[in-house]
Symmetry: D2
Subunit: 337 residues, 4 copies
Amino acid sequence: MKAGIIGGTGYTGGELARILCTHPDVEIAAMTSRQSAGRKVKEVHPYLGGYLDLEFSERITGKEDLDLVFVATPHGVAMKEVPGLLENGVKAIDLSGDYRLKDTAVYEKWYGHVHTDTDNLEKAVYGLPEFFRSEIKGADLVANPGCYATSAILACGPLLKSGLAGGDIIIDAKSGTSGAGMVPSDRTHHPFCGESVIPYSVGKHRHTPEIEMAVSRFAGKKAEVTFVPNLVPIVRGIISSCYFSLGKDADQEKIDSVYMKQYGNEPFVHYTDNPSLRATIASNHAQVSVKTVGDKAVAFGVLDNLVKGASGQAVQCMNLMLGLKETAGLDYPGLGV
Amino acid sequence: MKAGIIGGTGYTGGELARILCTHPDVEIAAMTSRQSAGRKVKEVHPYLGGYLDLEFSERITGKEDLDLVFVATPHGVAMKEVPGLLENGVKAIDLSGDYRLKDTAVYEKWYGHVHTDTDNLEKAVYGLPEFFRSEIKGADLVANPGCYATSAILACGPLLKSGLAGGDIIIDAKSGTSGAGMVPSDRTHHPFCGESVIPYSVGKHRHTPEIEMAVSRFAGKKAEVTFVPNLVPIVRGIISSCYFSLGKDADQEKIDSVYMKQYGNEPFVHYTDNPSLRATIASNHAQVSVKTVGDKAVAFGVLDNLVKGASGQAVQCMNLMLGLKETAGLDYPGLGV
Amino acid sequence: MKAGIIGGTGYTGGELARILCTHPDVEIAAMTSRQSAGRKVKEVHPYLGGYLDLEFSERITGKEDLDLVFVATPHGVAMKEVPGLLENGVKAIDLSGDYRLKDTAVYEKWYGHVHTDTDNLEKAVYGLPEFFRSEIKGADLVANPGCYATSAILACGPLLKSGLAGGDIIIDAKSGTSGAGMVPSDRTHHPFCGESVIPYSVGKHRHTPEIEMAVSRFAGKKAEVTFVPNLVPIVRGIISSCYFSLGKDADQEKIDSVYMKQYGNEPFVHYTDNPSLRATIASNHAQVSVKTVGDKAVAFGVLDNLVKGASGQAVQCMNLMLGLKETAGLDYPGLGV
Amino acid sequence: MKAGIIGGTGYTGGELARILCTHPDVEIAAMTSRQSAGRKVKEVHPYLGGYLDLEFSERITGKEDLDLVFVATPHGVAMKEVPGLLENGVKAIDLSGDYRLKDTAVYEKWYGHVHTDTDNLEKAVYGLPEFFRSEIKGADLVANPGCYATSAILACGPLLKSGLAGGDIIIDAKSGTSGAGMVPSDRTHHPFCGESVIPYSVGKHRHTPEIEMAVSRFAGKKAEVTFVPNLVPIVRGIISSCYFSLGKDADQEKIDSVYMKQYGNEPFVHYTDNPSLRATIASNHAQVSVKTVGDKAVAFGVLDNLVKGASGQAVQCMNLMLGLKETAGLDYPGLGV
């Protein structure tokens, strides 16, 4: 089968290519880049040398005979690209925020512009396989979750579904710097962030409504999420620490049982007593851990922000959408060290 | 005046010497170390070469004519050293946990052994000048706060005193690795922690009851503290992110006003809109910032764990106890970069 | 086919298991560990959960029907294990230094004890496929090169073979901390090394004679190597910067041509104008680059110390020894980011 | 006395202000910044809050009654500022490269534009107090050395002066990222450099001719310098590893004696067996160490690039030029940890 990537110069585009170039069933047939059109992909992403001999093209023409396209552009661009793909019968996975929020008013509030593709927004499926596997299998358009959102929702989901905790959640998340993308900025300038921990966008990060939407769905009522992201001086990795008030019935044993039931058979999400970020790095694996402290609980969600938090999860969704084995091209362990 | 340091080989002992060796009014007259007795201090702490020509001694003999002694030993040792010092009329500042918790039952629960110096425990003053300045001035024995505790209490204190927030606090703290001390361990092994974020001692860290004691005093009722420390791959620095539920009357403006009133004239604690860990490093300055998010607030406490979080604060207390200018030997800015 | 690992708890043992658990043709049938015998491998290396359900055993018994055993023990131990393996017709790859130095007097000088298996030492082949591929194919015993040695020899080899540079080489190498192994020490304690660059074992590192042996062979005369390793605060990765005096005939173009000829068809070693450590991380790929500066040249050798610098290269050798495709189980790109 | 700073927004400008704001004899009377004119300095450099209440001005007007001005601008700008200062009888220290190279042809080759102030260039003194103290004392214009150059020249100087080694030097230098200045770039983007070591400007770095000029002066003949800088993921600090071929008479003892004679009485440069970068950080102290390896020697020069490598050394020069105590405002140890 053939996949395309729109927006191939950034980190998520490069990571998609890194994963797909050893995929047993899918071949990258096209990668676009406005600024790099005409250049070999391996010039821009030298680690792909020997694995991908493609040139960046200006745009998807429709003649590539693609089965699926990943849209790895900034938000606002994706909703201009997706309609044409779907009309031509090409499935699409959007890695930006354009199709994640069902409520266009919420989208417009957080993203600052109107949504111009409300038709497809309705049909878009939120690409978190551990919770929406069957919808993803049947979808033509998947909104791939944000990196923070994936780590937080995996950590919080089972507890909220179980009713053992209420829907008032505080999330203190720590992200590696690759989450900021490839464009240098003051915040990712090494002398500024290399020996520091930097909270940012306190209460204003765009993953907030995305997390609220998902956890509200699980809780069966509007969940209140206080989300504080922090930049930490690592390149890859996110750990989201999610704090809950427990109901009277909740205890460690019941919580463990809920999570084991949810994740016991998942190929990529693992419930563990002792979460390790390094165990997930360079892999599609995520770890979840919950510890009770008095009448509170803290749920940790741990993953590689570029893999399970972005491009790996997108490939997992692709596998489901194309009827392939869910783990195809992703079935290897994290680094550990 | 003359000061001594019991336990001079560790990081806090070395940092005390680093600060005191340029203090205008106080000279280091003795430093003890069991394992390094007889060696020059500058052999163990080479950065002190040119500033301190002392040898480590086995013990304080009483003939050194000391005005004050810093006890920088592991907990359990300090309570054996302090009684003799006080009997001889030497003031003492304990940097361990031995004199921080007023309730011996709580001490024994968290530290795992009985307290053998309950008489002096009663008299010990908690060494946080921004809240207990006048008591410190009159004290013979000061219990220097823990690094996490200092950052958290500075962040939470004004809000709790004001009644604008309740006493149910979640603290997600991130510490540099120097907080773990000079003895190598699995957790501080660079391949393990150098590209990771590691939550540890969840709900079980010994600074928890210390924070609870202080904030309960401010709140006027038992405060519930959920404290989760994390190791981050920086050498110096702590940032404690403290989450509160706000009362109905609270808003950003009132909160700002409360903190400005509390810290507006403090030499070392600064209320700021934009906290910067690097601005505090290598200095006794701390920064506090509070941001409201819906009906919650997050208060950040930021400092250098070895200075305001340990040895610098101890010197600040010493200045108060000896009637010196509070900022003597500490009056310089942080690194910034 | 079936492989065993003697000494499976350390970083190279874990990395062997990480690579082999997705190898298409070889299965791990036994892993030994003195301290962890009886425990599941995935308890010690949690990232292997889902990929390896083996228990550590006390020793290789001979009943495992193994085709090849990796010896990932400290030096001095390997030469006790190897003779029995070979007698039983099991091929062996030693990842320690025991079989790297052909001259036992040199071994004894640098390792501090006598060599007790001189018979097999004679037969051992140095496991650098890019230079000794055909010997490795026919070998029963391979001495897997050291991490520093691999990076330096790949960088220097072609230039010395070409005669364009003399044999007086200065090597300034920078290594990530995982090269120090899993046992915590003062040097790898994060507060000590996390914001520093630390030269160590200046002129005394055990990879020195190994590099000298190899490059002398290429130069056709005794090469003088000045080798200075440095610890840098990254987890994975080595870059060796090798300085040469050029002969009169040498220029950038001739050098480029020599290296392209040497490495142009290699699957894992790439000659490049712009070396990138991150492009090699988590992969068996290495990069080599040479730049002339006046009458000198500097050759850079860049790789992941745990993969091409240790366990990945061992698997590459295994593939050759067992008649498998050389790239089997190793054919994926580095991380890039 | 009164000092001014032209170009106060960058890292070296901020570091000058950080050091001078606690200087006992000199006050900062003016700081200029084109982009920040009118703003308080402490808004741009928040760590200076409480220490400096100045506003950035557009330019030095001449009415400030300054004794000395630091020029902390990019090269090319300084040579436009300096003539006016000197004409008005204000001494100047240029932290850029404009007055370092005596030969204008060399300047133009390496900096890419003509030198427009050759008159003052002739009079400028190279501001390395350990070698040119008496000239600095009498100078009106000092060219403050580059960070790499300072570390390399301190390491190489005594050996070259002694004649124990020839003038063919290879310098492999490792720098923290703050050396790149405050403007974000691809190279200092944390995801790119945070877990990597990056050689750059191989043979083309502008500190090369500066080092060559100084060491040639010591050697009494043209020295050949091969200079390779590397970016390492630390914020502050440089270590330059300088490789020499030794003459027949040279041995460790003689070399030690030469360095002890050179540096034994220096307040800021220390000859040591065991160099430690962390011992120099946040201080004006530098360490030098030399180790012989066969017929080679490696000399290490270690310092904080922003202090002894830039602003601290400039203040040391200022002290000499103004007849103050050389160590004034700089007399405190490095961090150690």
